[in-house]
């Protein structure tokens, strides 16, 4: 086998850089329009609803599992040792129409279900300087 690979590193654009910088500081924050108050993800330059300006706002990190998969084969380097690993799309409490992708940690795969409550944790991302949000199942 080849040497152990790191998971993919994000390559932010100018529009997404503030989101990643916020995570790097340990804060999970999402974009919100300063005019119409709509939340957005992924980050954009301006509001897609009203063209207003956007600001990053810290969110509670609470959310629910909208859907999830269990990966039995890797689609990216760095995950061989985690197989089979779960990834969910999480609907944040403040903006449940949005879907944030992230791994579910600390749960047996059988205990993961749609609708379960989760809490985001910002953790170091192996192989670089970035941090990513992962999600832990919590009691409702």
């Amino acid at each position: 086998m080849t040497a152990k690979l790191n998971p993919p590193q994000p390559e932010p654009s100018l529009d997404s850089l503030p989101y990643w910088e916020s995570l790097k500081a340990g804060v999970f924050a999402l974009q919100r329009c300063t005019a119409c108050r709509e939340w957005q993800f992924p980050p954009l330059d301006t509001c897609r609803h009203c063209a207003g300006s956007l600001s990053l706002q810290t969110v509670s990190g609470r959310g629910t599992i909208y859907t999830f998969i269990i990966n039995h084969r890797p689609s990216a380097p760095g995950f061989d040792e985690l197989l089979p690993y779960p990834v969910a799309l999480v609907a944040p409490e403040e903006a449940p129409h949005l879907h944030i992708p992230g791994r579910i940690v600390g749960a047996a795969n059988e205990d993961i279900a749609i609708g379960r409550s989760v809490m985001a944790e910002v953790v170091d991302h192996p192989g670089g300087e970035w941090k990513v949000p992962v999600f832990r199942i919590i009691a409702t």
Binding site: P7, P10, N71, S75, A76, L89, I114, V132
Partner: protein, 378 residues
């Protein structure tokens, strides 16, 4: 009936394989030449090309050059995947209808098995664009995105693993009568359930059969079609709906098809019961389920029963994917569905001919983006 109605008059393809040992240019040229020869058209009558790719294919200018087209007037290269197949055909038809072009080739050429393979990597990756949020979690392949949809769909409508299996089994049975299909051995529910997990809820047999090959169709006007050698097949109408990255779609219980189907049925005055067969873009078993339910072949959550009761096969309501689809014929990115639809409507499908086939639905895409069109034997 108008002289400029768009008609498919030729179809062509290369062999479908797991390792072509050829360039996408070579495959595309074979498929296009074959479509032109099938029609019996002179090269000087072909002045447009539409193709789509995801950075894995040969462009229209190179194919026109290699074919020796004397007068290319409309090269269109669409940077997109299986979601644009029916739109690519519609663009060709619009060019013919408007008089912009005399005749237009539509092709897809790819080495999706031996070449650039989805979800494979050899070293560390930096990922920008839409996948920068998922990729750090090991989440960046289309099979993963649509497994997310499938899980949600199962939650909302009670679709089961066995329902997915029924799609795989019936589609494979159809491929058994298609000499061009790569996978022709029948499978049982037991074998389906025992096939290895890829991205749960998807098993191996839920996923398209990555393959090498090219497929092309040739479109011209009703007036020009009169001088050609095949029974023409009319493209009646097409409707596409496009969302962005699959993760951004708010309601995964309804696919693009929930938006694309109603206008198509309304404008054509047709309904699912009028379809003699359908070629449904089946990159995953789940795609077929979501799409036929949205198009109204059965109720939401009813596709498993639709297949179980034999409605999706010969002797039922509507034969779905008589060629074996992307699941069992080959993943030629949905272009092969158009080849099959035209072959069936010309009554040239041999052993797997759908009796008296006159009208068919062909779809493209899944999740938030795709389209559908209707072909009719002229």
């Amino acid at each position: 009936m108008a002289a400029n109605d768009p008609m498919v008059v030729g179809i062509g393809r290369s062999p479908y394989s797991r390792n072509s040992g050829r360039t996408t240019a070579s495959l595309a040229v074979e498929a296009c030449r074959s479509a032109i020869a099938d029609a019996g058209m002179d090269l000087s009558e072909v002045d447009g090309i539409v193709e789509f790719n995801v950075g894995d294919s040969v462009g229209s200018l190179n194919v026109a050059y290699a074919l020796g087209l004397p007068g290319l007037r409309m090269p269109v290269d669409i940077q997109n995947g299986g979601n644009v197949v029916t739109l690519a055909v519609a663009l060709a038809c619009m060019a013919v209808q408007s008089g912009k072009c005399k005749s237009v080739l539509v092709y897809r050429s790819l080495n999706s098995r031996s070449g650039q393979r989805i979800g494979t990597y050899t070293g560390n990756l930096n990922i920008g664009g839409d996948d920068q949020y998922g990729a750090p979690h090991g989440y960046m392949a289309p099979g993963q995105w649509f497994a997310m949809y499938c899980r949600r769909y199962m939650h909302e409508f009670g679709t089961t693993y066995e329902d997915l299996g029924r799609i795989a089994i019936t589609t494979r049975a159809h491929a058994g009568k298609n000499e061009a299909a790569i996978m022709r051995e029948p499978i049982t529910m037991e074998q389906y359930l025992a096939s290895r997990w890829i991205y749960d809820p998807f098993r191996l047999f839920d996923c398209a059969l990555e393959a090498d090959g090219a497929c092309a169709i040739l479109v011209t006007s009703r007036a020009r079609a009169r001088n050609l050698q095949q029974v023409p097949v009319q493209m009646l109408d097409e409707e596409t709906f496009m969302g962005r990255h699959p993760d951004s779609w708010e309601d995964m219980g309804h696919l693009f098809s929930a938006r694309a189907a109603p206008p198509l049925w309304e404008r054509t005055g047709l309904k699912p019961a009028d379809m003699d067969f359908a070629c449904i873009y089946d990159c995953f078993t789940f795609t077929t389920i979501g799409v036929i339910e949205d198009y109204g072949f059965c109720e939401k959550g009813g596709a498993g029963e639709y297949y179980a009761s034999g409605k999706a096969t010969y002797g039922g309501d509507c034969v779905i994917n008589p060629h074996g689809g992307l699941l069992s014929e080959a993943y030629i990115h949905g272009m092969n569905h158009h080849f099959e639809a035209v072959l069936q409507l010309r009554h040239q499908a041999g052993e797997r001919q759908v009796k008296d086939a006159k009208v068919a639905l062909v779809t493209a895409g899944t999740g938030p983006f795709g389209g559908g069109l209707i072909y009719a034997r002229a």
